[in-house]
Amino acid sequence: MRFKLPSIADAKDHIITALILIIAVALMIGRYQGGLNNLRKASITIFSYLEEPLSNVRVYRRALKTNTYLRKQNVLLLDELSRLRAAEQRNEQLRELLQFSSESNLSLYPVQIVGKELNQITNSLTVDAGQEEGITNGMPMVSSEGLVGKVILSANGYSQVMPYFNTLFRVSAKLQQSNAYGIVSWDGDSKKELQLNYVPQTTDVDTGEVVVTSGYSNQFPPDIPIGKVLRTEPQQGKETQRVYIEPFVNLFEIAEGFIVKFKPDTTIKNLNEDYENLLQ
């Protein structure tokens, strides 16, 4: 068997390929061993010259991406800001309630309003406390600003409150400076003002004067703020005047409050009954 070596011309491509591959491998090794630093410096310089004209394209594309990202972040941050503002507002309201609760001598039970009907003549509120929590009919509801209404129906876990904006609502009240008393009610017309009736025309009433519960009716504790005087109107053919009051509590914005665990004094109640019987 004869072994024939190929000629150089036949193996030319193989030899060239082998040489190129060896050079390539040597370059790779040299690059990793740090032997091509000068060449690399030169190549980086050339590359930077080539890159420079189109670097603005990359900057522009990056700016577009950054812009999209920032717009998303902006929406998220606005949402977060809105929620934080709402939380801050709620925090302030709860702080006011807490302060009112700690300063008040009344027995207060905190409640949250879970239902609100303020579109009709017979407006009502529903709160998340009922008989289980010791809430009974007739107990007043207050907030840190003043009187809200009174409980008219109490069930297990929930109670219905008649707010002052109800044509059936009545509370005995007095002007804080003159101590002239009357009955506060709502005529069903304006949702911005209440009326204090039966105040004699001889009583001087100033605008801005505070009206509070009198406690005379034995249904509400005394000195709960109701509102401030807006104006007065003399009643035709009567010796009394009608005092219009702007209530302190905004029923449309209120979310929490307290039920005052107030029970009418039975001694006064019995005395009144005895007096009525005596007159009969």
């Binding site: 068997m1 190129i20 050079i23 090794i29 690059r31 190549s43 590359f47 890159e51 189109l54």
Partner: protein, 156 residues
């Protein structure tokens, strides 16, 4: 270098510059085309193997120098030309269909990228100089020695 070859090398450098300056910035989900490879396949179809090998080595070297890869493209492209030269339809006057062009370039690019990535992984693994030279020179010589020994006994 004759004028024809010099002209073709200039075209190749032009492709390289377009690749580096333009197509590197037109990435789609971090993918970019390799214009040099397209040029080399075109060149293989028209020139002899030696010229194609030298062109691949030259352009690969320049690409490596610009991209600081040093040897990776040179190795991959040269090996690709060497292996695939006989499979590229050459000297035909008939124009290839677009599907044929796509398939040819796709297979060539796959082989090239396979070599490129394999070599990249290998070169990063074998950065220890002593082990590398032991493996490359020592193992190669030892294999050749064993082959010669077998050949010696076989003739006897």
């Amino acid at each position: 270098m004759n004028p024809e070859r010099f002209k073709n090398f200039g075209i190749g450098v032009g492709f390289l510059l377009i690749q580096v300056m333009l197509f590197r910035h037109l990435k789609i989900i971090q993918i970019q085309p390799d214009l040099i490879l397209i040029f080399l396949v075109w060149y293989m179809a028209r020139k002899d193997r030696t010229a194609a090998l030298l062109m691949a080595a030259g352009l690969g070297f320049l690409q490596d120098a610009i991209l600081d890869l040093w040897g990776l493209n040179m190795f991959s492209k040269t090996l690709l030309v060497f292996m695939s030269y006989n499979f590229i339809p050459s000297g035909s006057k008939k124009q290839l269909l677009i599907g044929q062009v796509f398939l040819t370039i796709a297979i060539a690019a796959l082989i090239h990228n396979l070599i490129f990535l394999g070599l990249n992984v290998a070169i990063q693994s074998y950065t220890g100089e002593q082990y590398f030279w032991q493996h490359l020179i020592g193992s190669s010589l030892y294999t050749a020695f064993v082959a010669s020994f077998i050949q010696l006994f076989r003739t006897n």
